[in-house]
C-alpha cells in the first residue's frame, strides 16, 4: 500500500455564495464520502483550509496577502488515503462532491524515503 494525497482545488463555497440549503446538501455528501473511506479503512487524515492566503515570495521574502487572481486555483483542503495505486485513488475520487462547482481533485503520491 502507498499513501496518496487528494488535494481539492477550487469550488470555494464562500466565493460561490451557496445557500444554507446547498451547503447542508454538500456537507452531507462530504460526510458520506468520508464515512465510506473510513469504513474501508483507507482514510488517514485531512484538513480543510481557510481561503486566507499569505505568500512569501522571492529573495527579498516579499509578503503578499490574498485574494490572489484566480479563486479556481485555491486549495480548499486535502485528504490523505492509502491505496494500491494512483488509479485506485482516481476511483476513490469519483465521490468528490464538488466537480459540478468547477472543483478539481489533484492526486499526488507521498514520497517514501528508504533508510
Amino acid at each position: 500500500m502507498k499513501d496518496f494525497m487528494m488535494i481539492f482545488i477550487g469550488a470555494d463555497y464562500q466565493e460561490l455564495g451557496l445557500s444554507p440549503e446547498e451547503l447542508q446538501n454538500r456537507m452531507g455528501k462530504w460526510f458520506a464520502w468520508g464515512q465510506k473511506m473510513e469504513t474501508q479503512g483507507i482514510l488517514k487524515g485531512g484538513e480543510a483550509l481557510t481561503p486566507n492566503i499569505k505568500r512569501v515570495i522571492g529573495q527579498d521574502r516579499a509578503v503578499s496577502d490574498g485574494p490572489f487572481a484566480d479563486s479556481k486555483e485555491i486549495i480548499g483542503g486535502y485528504y490523505t488515503v492509502s491505496a494500491e495505486s494512483a488509479e485506485a485513488v482516481v476511483e476513490i475520487a469519483q465521490d468528490y462532491p464538488d466537480y459540478d462547482l468547477g472543483g478539481t481533485v489533484e492526486i499526488r503520491e507521498i514520497m517514501v524515503f528508504d533508510n
Binding site: Y13, Q14, S19, P20, E22, L23, Q24, R26, M27, F31
Partner: protein
Amino acid sequence: MEQKIVDHLFRHHYGKMVAILTQYFGLAHIETIEDAVQDTFIKATLKWRKQIPEYPEAWLTKVAKNRTIDLLRSIKAEKNRNEENLESGFSEEINELFLDHEIEDSQLRMIFVACHPKLKPNEQIAFALKTISGFSTKEIAAALLSKEDTITKRLHRARQSIVKNNLQFEFPAPNEVYERLLSVMHVIYLTFNEGFHSTNSKQLIREDLCGEALRLCKLLLKKEKFRSGSMYALFALLCYHASRLQTKTNTSNEIVAIREQDRSKWFLPLIQMGHSAMNTAMDYDEVSIYHYEAAIAAEHVKATTFENTDWKTILVLYQKLQQLQPSHLHLLNIATVKLQLNKFESVSKILESLAEVDLGQRAYLYYGCYAEYFERRGDTILAIIYLNKAIAKTSNSLEKNYLKKKMEKLQGSNESFKS
C-alpha cells in the same frame, strides 16, 4: 457513528439567526449580520464533513450566540466603547432572544421589514427570500425568473434603502398593516411556487420551501391583527397544493402529471385544512387572486379522477382571475383548460397571441401547451416539433426527462420517425 441531520436545518436556522441578531443589533447592521451567519454555516459545513455534532441544532444555536457576542464586541469596539461594558447580564439578555416566541416575533418583524414600502416590490421579494428563507441569489433568480446579476443588485439596493431610510426593526403602524400584508402574501406565494414548480435541477419538489411558505402563513395567522380573507385564502391555496406534493414525483424521482397522479395518496389532512381555511376566508368581505387560485386548486382536489375534473368551473375561475389580475401565465392556463374542453379554435387564438418571451423561464409550458394542442388535433409531427422546443427551454432535468418521455411516446406512435 451514523449521524443524521434534520432536513433543511441550515435553511431554517439561517432565517432564525438573522432575525434574532437583527432584533439585537438593529437593521443598520443587516449586512454584517448576514455575512456572519453565512460564515457560520460555511464553518459548520467544513467542520461537519468529518464529524457531525451530537446535537447539530444546539451547536448552531450556541455558535449563533457566540457570534452575537463577537459582533457586539466588534460593533462596540468600532464605537470606541470600553469592553468592560460587556457585563454578565447581557448573556442572559441574549438567552432571552433565543426563546421560541421571541424567535417567532423577530421573524415576523423581518417579514414586515422586507415588505416596507421604501423597498421596491422586486427588491422586497428578493430581500425576503434571502433574509427570511435563506435562498441564494441563484435560487432567487430562478424563483423570480430573472438573472442572478439583477438579484445581486436588488439585494444591494434593498440593504441600502434600509440603511439610508433608517428603517427600524418594528411592526408597521395599524393604518399601514393592510397594504404591507399584500406584499407579505405575495412573497409567501412566490416562496411556495419556487418549491412547488422548482426550476432548480434534480430536485423538483423543494418541500422545504413549500413548508416554509406554509409556516410563514401560519405564523401570521396566529396573530389576530394579521388575519384577513386573502390570508386565509392564500393558506387554503398552499394547503391544497401541498396535499399533492408527494404524488408529483414517483419513486424513481420522475414527474407524474396531475392526470396520472394517484389521487388516493393526496394528503387528506392538508385538504381538510384547506377547506377549513377557505370557509374562514369566506367570512370576510373580500376577494383576491388567492380566492380564485384556491378555488381552482380546490376543484382539482375535489375531482375523483382527471376526467371528472369540472373544467367548466375552472375555466370561469381562471377568467375571473385574469380579469382581476391579467397575466400571460393565466392566459396560458386558460388555453390549457380550454384544451381539455376541446375548444381548439379558441386555444389556437390564445397561443398565437402569446410569445415565448412573455412567459420568461416558463416558456417550456407555452411550447408544451402547443404540443398538446397539435397532439390532440392529431398532428404528431408538429406536436413533436413543439415538444422539442419545450425541451430546449427547460433547465430542470426532471421536467426535461418528462418531456422527453412524452416525445418518445409520440415518436413511437408516428411511423415517419422510425427508421
